[in-house]
Assembly symmetry: D2
Homo-oligomer: 297 residues x 4
């Protein structure tokens, strides 16, 4: 009776890769997408950083954050003007500031000179959001909203596709393929935590899946970004998981940054403050250098 | 209707920590166990490395591996003489070499001068294995075998407690408490992958849970080691996940090393070879330095 | 040290129920929505049955199935004309027959006299599909596509909301609330399997979560239907899980039925044939009677 | 591009069944183990019921419960004298009553004339517990304690093997094989809930996996019992899940019964009382008859 010696089954067979994900699949082991967005390189030695608040709360706040994160080395300002909530009731503030938020992002972009990534939730807002967004962010809950993926893809804007917390790598690449098939080649994958029973905080339910970084990079040429803020839902864990993301080969890091985390309008437990962000950029850069890459320009 | 602003529930409340895990729980945020095993420091700036084959296949093999991993910087030789299998049929080789394996480990220890960590599976073998083992390794499947934990603890040998792939942090600390309550203070936790639906190779079913490193360190003073070999079950992913382990604060790294991985007697897809190990030690050390620690003496 | 005696934490607190799911939440333990769709009662002693093929393959096939399932006791004909796929490539047949499929469903409805439930995937097709559908089915992948939920809700058509395979009960009720808040009160929940590591067939990854039936009914007044075909992905398991669904209190059963399962155009391993369906209806009815309900009129 | 038409991969291949689980595997589709324990048939049309308290709290209590559950139709009295806890601190009461508990079970057996199933946790207590137990129960946490499985098997006593909450069907059958290989053929499998992220009560973390009943019965001839009390951790859900267990083909049901659930010494939220048990037996019997089986003698 021999001890097991077989190769492990893969979720995605080589045949599947060719027939279902022909555009997302690597053509060779070395194949990696390289492209630029607003002068920032993706898929190369540079590791872009996306930073900003969960929600675009006010004009002054977003201008201040844009200035500070840019000064510390962020490549893109992130911030949600339109945001999904898992139930239909929202603060007055949210309803008043959605379209205002887009204007404030535009002002930040122009005044501070930092490119913008922001979430688009609904087909009808694609034109509005496309005016300001340099990258359209598609949230986890919309990952399998295929007609919406197609509509976003047709803008030919770069797209960041967040992984659903219940999605397999196969599901995720299938969603990316819906974008690629429209001829839109600037697709960025973003891991933001999966839902598992072993999670360490019962209200968050997310576990940052860093193993998916090498797993995805083994079969796809698309860059894979890691977002530790949403996954960990807990400020003290953001730094270690961001550093781990860099160490295991992530092609970008997305972070929530807020001047006064405890008073953030949404999810006040997860943002880091300016000083933590500035220190983290330096640490990420030093770890990036250990793996032949860099964060700071 | 206000947007949710509450602290996330924790799996383990402060009250639970005091009443159920009083010995495993930190006394203060800075509290961290520091101890030495065979002159190797745990819980300090030094990050110990455990390396060796999955199975002690032969005398010559284990002597060769002991020599090579020590030369490259391993602190402990790992290798299984007694190993659990998830069904009762084993190769002839396994049955013949179990007690021999302990002798070969002893010879490696004496000739090469490297301390030993090896798994103990059964109470009756504790005396035999204790003769050679500097650290008793308790495998995942025995994590909740409480009388066995007690029996191992009573040897007062240092113990590495691997996390079961279905265990929560709460379950894991509860098991550690069974060891601590016997007055045995040299307990090392080891994360080796959890079982989740989102896993990227269907035969392995394990996802290395690096988020548990800061999560565990937030509430316990015990050192937390990471084993990327078993979790990933795939040689190319061992290096990125080992580096990520260091970056997120792991207090040790356990690795499978074999001179000829493809012909390893057990799990031939997961070991790295000598050259990969030697390179990895250097990379781990450079990343350790970025987080104020070190791997190499 | 006392043995633990506390009530288990609930995913959804009573406070959450009131503030986040005020319309989905029960007003009293006995509160249960009762309504009729095309003369079929929901939320009462009657347990409606939805039966038909995965895909509306051809005019003749759907007419034949409509006739046969109605004769055996089905209350609604199910069948997908527009269907999501997890990657963007589809058979020619699918592309040709989508709008045709809606016509064939209309013909089945008129000739056979059976009401129709069919999936709507995209906002632009809501008017077309609403012409034939007596119930709009929202698939798992669209469960968190909130603007789409709102658009469907505004038709004031009855809606079946399938649970995403990664969604908690909380996520699911939040999605239902988006429909209810539009004044659309005929909302039917449908459980179709969750994604777990313990699943028994690696390609399907779904486990029918029957425990969610009493769990949901404890807090919501909405009817909860069970779909064992998609969850089990395996014809021999459909009957036992359908019967179990009735036994644990499901308010409806959805089944895939095909005259020649092995040659079904999609998912040929999961449909049952006419004879199996007819026998199953009788068995479900006898079990329904044991719990004070009925399937057959 | 054809729509997927392949058979789903199975966790356990036919080849694996033959080489790893030759004794647990069915020899033919109709193959089912049939055996008797104390005159109660297993694996036939009869569905045995195991009932009693979580913990043998006192002599009077266990005698009363034995009398009442037997009168209502229970086939075996269950009750834990030796019980695992996930941390090492226990009430004084527990420590005092462990060996007493075995005596009280013996007295119940003799006076009331009901056979006994009770958990054995440790090899050294096998002889003591074997004096009273007609079936040795091996708990979830010991499912992968292979030397202990072997020691229990060697008694040639019937064994109930509970599934670990993180174990796959493959892991579970592998554990059963360790018992069968000792020539012990009276092995009963028991499903008691798996750990998943979608669970509906955060403190319990268990989801009763009823799909494993047909899944296990497809490949093994061993009887499969269902325990809804531990899985649901919540009294109101016990009845619906017990009935569902019968409906999907379970070969036995295990239930926690206590005269005063709210004051049970352990897990007071999950037992049902005498009246609920008596009613449930009747309902289970009526559902059993719908699937060609029976509960009541």
């Amino acid at each position: 009776m021999a001890i097991e010696n077989k190769a492990p089954g893969k979720d995605i067979s080589a045949e599947d890769l060719l027939s279902k994900f022909p555009l997302a699949a690597k053509k060779s082991p070395e194949h990696k997408s390289e492209f630029e967005i607003c002068g920032v390189k993706f898929g190369s030695k540079k590791i872009p950083v996306f930073a900003g608040p969960n929600m675009v709360e006010s004009r002054d706040l977003i201008l201040d954050i844009a200035f500070k994160v840019k000064a510390s080395g962020a490549d893109f300002l992130r911030g949600g003007a339109f945001k999904p909530l898992s139930f239909p009731y929202r603060s007055e503030k949210y309803n008043e500031t959605r379209e205002e938020g887009i204007k404030w992002l535009m002002e930040s972009k122009e005044k501070i000179g930092i490119p913008i990534i922001t979430e688009v939730m609904e087909e009808k807002y694609i034109p509005l959001i496309s005016q300001v967004a340099d990258i359209l962010q598609i949230g986890s809950r919309n990952m399998q909203n295929y007609p919406f993926l197609t509509a976003c893809a047709k803008t030919q804007k770069p797209i960041m596709l967040k992984r659903h917390y219940g999605a397999s790598l196969r599901d995720w690449l299938g969603a990316a393929e819906y974008i690629l098939v429209e001829g839109n080649e600037k697709v960025i994958l973003c891991e933001r935590g999966v839902s598992v029973a072993h999670t360490h905080r019962s209200s968050s339910r997310f576990l940052l899946d860093l193993q998916v970084v090498p797993a995805a990079q083994e079969i796809t040429h698309l860059p894979v970004v890691v977002d530790p803020s949403h996954a960990t839902f807990w400020r003290p864990w953001v730094e270690p998981m961001a550093l781990a993301g860099i160490a295991c080969g992530a092609d970008g890091i997305m972070l929530e940054v807020h001047p006064d985390p405890a008073n953030a309008a949404v999810d006040p437990l997860q943002p880091i403050d300016y000083k933590e962000f500035s220190n983290l950029i330096s640490k990420m850069d030093s770890i990036a250098k250990c793996v032949g890459r860099y964060v700071k320009k």
